[in-house]
Symmetry: none
Subunit: 266 residues, 2 copies
Amino acid sequence: MLERIRIVLIGTSHPGNIGAAARAMKTMGLEQLALVAPRGEGINPEAIARASGADDLLERATLHDTLEPALKDCQWVVGASARSRHLPWPLCSPREFSARLPGEMQHQSSTVALVFGREDKGLTNEELQRCHTHVHIPTSADYSSLNLAAAVQVLAYECRQAWLSTQSNTTDTLPGSAYPFGVEWDNPLANHADTERFFEHLERTLIDIGFHDPNNPRQLMARLRRLYMRSRMDVMELNMLRGILTRVDRLQNGHDRPSEPSDPVS
Amino acid sequence: MLERIRIVLIGTSHPGNIGAAARAMKTMGLEQLALVAPRGEGINPEAIARASGADDLLERATLHDTLEPALKDCQWVVGASARSRHLPWPLCSPREFSARLPGEMQHQSSTVALVFGREDKGLTNEELQRCHTHVHIPTSADYSSLNLAAAVQVLAYECRQAWLSTQSNTTDTLPGSAYPFGVEWDNPLANHADTERFFEHLERTLIDIGFHDPNNPRQLMARLRRLYMRSRMDVMELNMLRGILTRVDRLQNGHDRPSEPSDPVS
């Protein structure tokens, strides 16, 4: 799907922005770059430097005098628009764009174009009217000067999110929901029985060392339970905590009954 | 809300990236920039040029020798991490980060830090272990070289999405997003500085009682950090744990020097 999304840059002034846009695309798995009438030198050494290893996208970029040939095989043309125009046009947020994308690209032949305008004045009304939809990246009311490559980065990221959503549906492994911590863990989680034994041990030790008075418990054990329960301890963590408690028990026994050996004589 | 989100850049080499990060922040309404031990010139003319009108953020940026002071008043510290580490840590996607953010920031005093590492090698394990949560921006398996300012742009954009979601749903507080625990809490969450003091105390006590050998640390402290960090301790819980440690310290001192009274004679 991502290989059928085309980034179209119109009238770019700064070659560095073309390179940075290529880098932004490649990190998100996009491949197709089309340049329409760049106003500067186009792909020059600065563009290649800023591409930082994404120069294969620059090499394969297509160059056009006008917008039309860059769009001709596209089924959905989306223009990145900074400001609202006098003539209202179907508009979506980057999130809504992302949500629509998989459906728009379901046919294997579907190609989508994302069109970005000039650094200083964006897309003309004529260009905006070549688009099916406008997408507006919400920016601060006080400062909306989004860099061209940064705008490409945000929408390329939303393209990748859209693609990831199609991948996760197939095998039911939503990133972040597969495991309680959003990542494959190194140890199995502790089971209920072992967790309860830990709490018994913890309470006994806290009584022994004089920190906890079962006749005046306040909420001590309830609060400690809440703390440890919500961390979802794994088995190694639980064993470490029990090891610490055992060490404190030995200390306590030695302190209370210094003449009495707590371990069998070996 | 957005004014209480801090972008922390550690060991940045290229001043241009600092400027571009400031610009990315400002377009999304973020204001707080903290620089930790920049490796290059820091804020120089190139940084100001790339900030392109966001130079007020550069002027107000704080500069720190180490990470600690940049985090000390923060309740939620999130590290941008490119790769998975040998010790798994609670991880979220930028979307999940965005969904959690309004709840995390509901208290007017809550400050959140988003920490970004070096251009060439990201965050160290030690730095990553100062974080409650890691956030990973999904990138192409073939090319994951996300520019620093581009990464700031994506997460700043997700911060703004989070803020926009609070503006539109004035009455709709989604269960599970209202607070980190999905419910109004009884105590404020512990801040970074107090949490670090707890870990120092814990480590000292574990060394004193002979459970932890700093010359052969294995992953003990990292694992304990992970356990407590992901439970998001509140101030009362933290005080209880410190009280337990203090009790164990007294026991240990009494045990080591039995002739020395640990309490005043009554």
